[in-house]
């Protein structure tokens, strides 16, 4: 029973991890290449979830919901990059933090106006609503599908960045944007592409999370914070680091939440442990991040040895 519980919690952790990776990949690329801190990345995740939920209720096709979320969030990202954020890229991080903090408030309220303040329900797609037997315990197949999709996207990103011409330009842009521009590459176009790609990935994460979290205004912020933790632990600008750190954070957070109360029961009274356990479990990843930063300020997998910078 305990091993099965541990295994299913491990899978839950992996599932959270791949979702975090989808968000972290875009955020860390945008930071690595444009040196831009985008706090509004969580809003794109939220928009993806809402676009997906709306498309799903209207068409009852999860495939269309996926397309709507990815394309919709991508377009919003494109528009943001072209019309709102261009002047911010040259500014210091503080201005970027302030501006995108404003955007968070804006998008949360926009969603509240359009879809109302209460949460929107999104069903698990019919084909994936069953459970699967793995090693003698049952696990929802939808969550397994999330893990699979996340790993597939990670593989695709790896191939895109390491094996294609665009990927080469992205890597070059992260190393020295001015030099790439001087060699005749339209760096603005490259930036827009990366930003829109990141936005589309955030939208994908949003729509995939839709059926298992509550789709509501402000749903992007807790995820954004976790994503920031991921890209810091992984090393800014490093896709490989983001992937590994996302899995670590997802698993540590989930296992902590699942087993911390039980663990604490051996030390404290049951009531105290049940109350304090979840909160202390939430502290775990921050403790982990603080230790990582204190020991290795560049993160666990700094970008220089990996994809970018």
């Amino acid at each position: 029973m305990t091993t099965q519980l541990a295994l299913s919690q491990l899978l839950n952790g992996l599932q959270l991890g791949v979702l975090l990776f989808l968000l972290a990949a875009g955020l860390t690329l945008v930071f690595g290449i444009m040196s831009f801190v985008n706090l509004a990345h969580g809003s794109l995740y939220m928009l993806g979830a809402y676009f997906g939920a709306a498309a799903f209720t209207h068409t009852e096709s999860f495939l269309l919901a996926l397309v709507a979320a990815v394309v919709g969030a991508g377009i919003v990202g494109l528009l943001l990059d072209r019309f709102a954020l261009t002047t911010l890229y040259q500014r210091d991080h503080l201005d970027q933090v302030l501006a995108t903090f404003g955007l968070i408030l804006f998008f949360n309220e926009l969603i509240r106006i359009i879809w109302g303040p209460s949460s929107v329900f999104m069903q698990v797609p019919q084909a994936l609503s069953s459970t699967v037997d793995i090693f003698g315990f049952t696990y929802p197949s939808y969550r397994l599908a999330i893990i699979g999709a996340g790993i597939a996207v990670a593989l695709g990103l790896y191939l895109l960045i390491q094996k294609t011409r665009v990927g080469m330009l992205i890597r070059a842009g992260a190393t020295n944007a001015n030099m790439v521009a001087a060699l005749g590459i339209n760096i603005k176009w490259l930036n827009t592409l990366v930003f829109a790609l990141g936005a589309a990935l955030a939208g994908l994460a949003g729509v995939m999370a839709g059926p298992i979290v509550s789709v509501q205004p402000g749903m992007g912020e807790p995820v954004l914070i976790l994503t920031l933790v991921v890209i810091i632990i992984g090393g800014l600008g490093s896709i490989r680091g983001a992937f590994l750190a996302a899995l670590i954070v997802g698993v540590v957070d989930t296992l902590g939440r699942a087993f911390m109360p039980t663990l604490m029961r051996t030390l404290f009274e049951r009531s105290t442990a049940d109350a304090a356990g979840p909160a202390l479990a939430s502290m775990l990843i921050y403790l982990f991040m603080a230790v990582v930063l204190a020991v290795k300020p560049q993160g666990l997998f700094p970008a220089s040895t990996s994809v970018t910078r």
Binding site: V37, A84, R91, H93, V97, F101, L105, L293
Partner: protein
């Protein structure tokens, strides 16, 4: 030693603004009483408390270039230093202040010593991490309300007088702001402040000149944390409530917004920033109600746009855009 650390240029727009704002703040309870609008006293007390916390943050953010996204944790600590003793019947303001200041100084020394090993974006994130830890730590205090927070039965008493009167509390906050303004003004222009500002402008050069900037930064970090803790003490007194939400990362974000809105690296900027932000939060719903009654609750949309535009357009904040020869 002269009282003012630098000669005051009376004709400069910044001096005039600062004096007019402070004079209005000094008279506000009297004006409010005349118009029978006592609500505005508590609203302005809130503004003053946020201004105080922002003055604290400005010490390291504006003058030291350290972007802390975790300063709300010291507000939280200050508030709990009032609420927890109060729940055990200790209402002495001196004791509560002593607990708030000593615990904050200790915590800030530890957090600062670790965080200052990093710079730039890593510093932002590590301060955020510590603040989140304290936030969840407060949530786990089941005996003191946990997630819901705990109410404060009585306001702090300082020997002969106590803060139970709203106007007294207002002037306590006002005086705290005045003292913090004066001290930060002095600090910024002192040799200490010079090294601190130098470490912001060019850390490598400051080190090369032989200044142990880590120690300067750490002292500034602790001082700024203590100012925030005092703001927390006042906040718990104002709301008669302490909750983990005081230490939420969005509050740290709001404090940064206030500092930047007012003008980074100006002594008086945080006061202007706090007035603008909190007054907007108060006025926008009423304003929208007149134009589009259905959308009254959606004022955050405009606030978000406003913050965005300020970040784009005003590089030096509202107060910082006024001309002056002095910081």
């Amino acid at each position: 030693m002269k009282f003012f650390p630098q000669p005051i240029v009376w004709s400069s727009p910044r001096t005039v603004t600062a004096i007019v704002v402070l004079a209005l703040l000094a008279m506000l309870p009297i004006i409010a009483a005349a118009f029978d609008a006592s609500y505005y006293v508590s609203l302005t007390t809130r503004i003053l408390i946020y201004a105080l916390a922002a003055i604290g943050l400005n010490l390291i953010l504006g003058f030291g270039g350290m972007v802390s996204l975790g300063h709300a944790m010291y507000v939280l600590l200050g508030a709990y230093a009032v609420a927890i003793p109060a729940s055990h019947g200790v209402t002495s303001g001196f004791t509560q202040l002593a607990i708030a200041i000593s615990s904050t100084a200790l915590l800030a020394a530890g957090v600062g010593a670790v965080s200052l090993r990093t710079t730039g974006i890593a510093f932002i994130m590590i301060t955020l991490a510590f603040a989140q830890m304290l936030f969840f730590g407060a949530v786990s205090l089941k005996d003191y309300g946990g997630d819901d927070g705990l109410t404060v039965a009585a306001r702090s008493s300082f020997g002969a007088f106590d803060l139970s009167n709203n106007v007294t509390l207002y002037y306590a906050a006002f005086i705290a702001v005045l003292v913090a303004l004066y001290l930060s003004w002095r600090a910024v222009l002192s040799p200490f402040g010079l090294v601190l500002r130098g470490s912001k402008a060019n850390a490598r050069r400051a080190i090369a000149l032989g200044h142990p900037i880590f120690q300067y930064q750490l002292v500034a970090y602790i001082a700024s944390a203590v100012v925030c803790a005092v703001a927390g003490v006042l906040l718990a007194n104002l709301t008669l409530f302490a909750s983990p939400s005081y230490g939420a990362w969005t509050v740290s974000g709001e404090l940064i917004v206030i500092v930047i809105l007012g003008g980074l690296g100006t002594v008086f900027g945080p006061v202007v920033g706090a007035i603008i932000l909190l007054a907007l939060e108060e006025a926008l719903p009423t304003l929208i109600e007149h134009v589009l009654p259905d959308y009254k609750s959606n004022w955050m949309l405009l606030l978000g746009l406003f913050i965005f535009v300020v970040a784009l357009v005003l590089k030096h904040g509202v107060f910082g855009s006024l001309k002056s020869r002095s910081p």
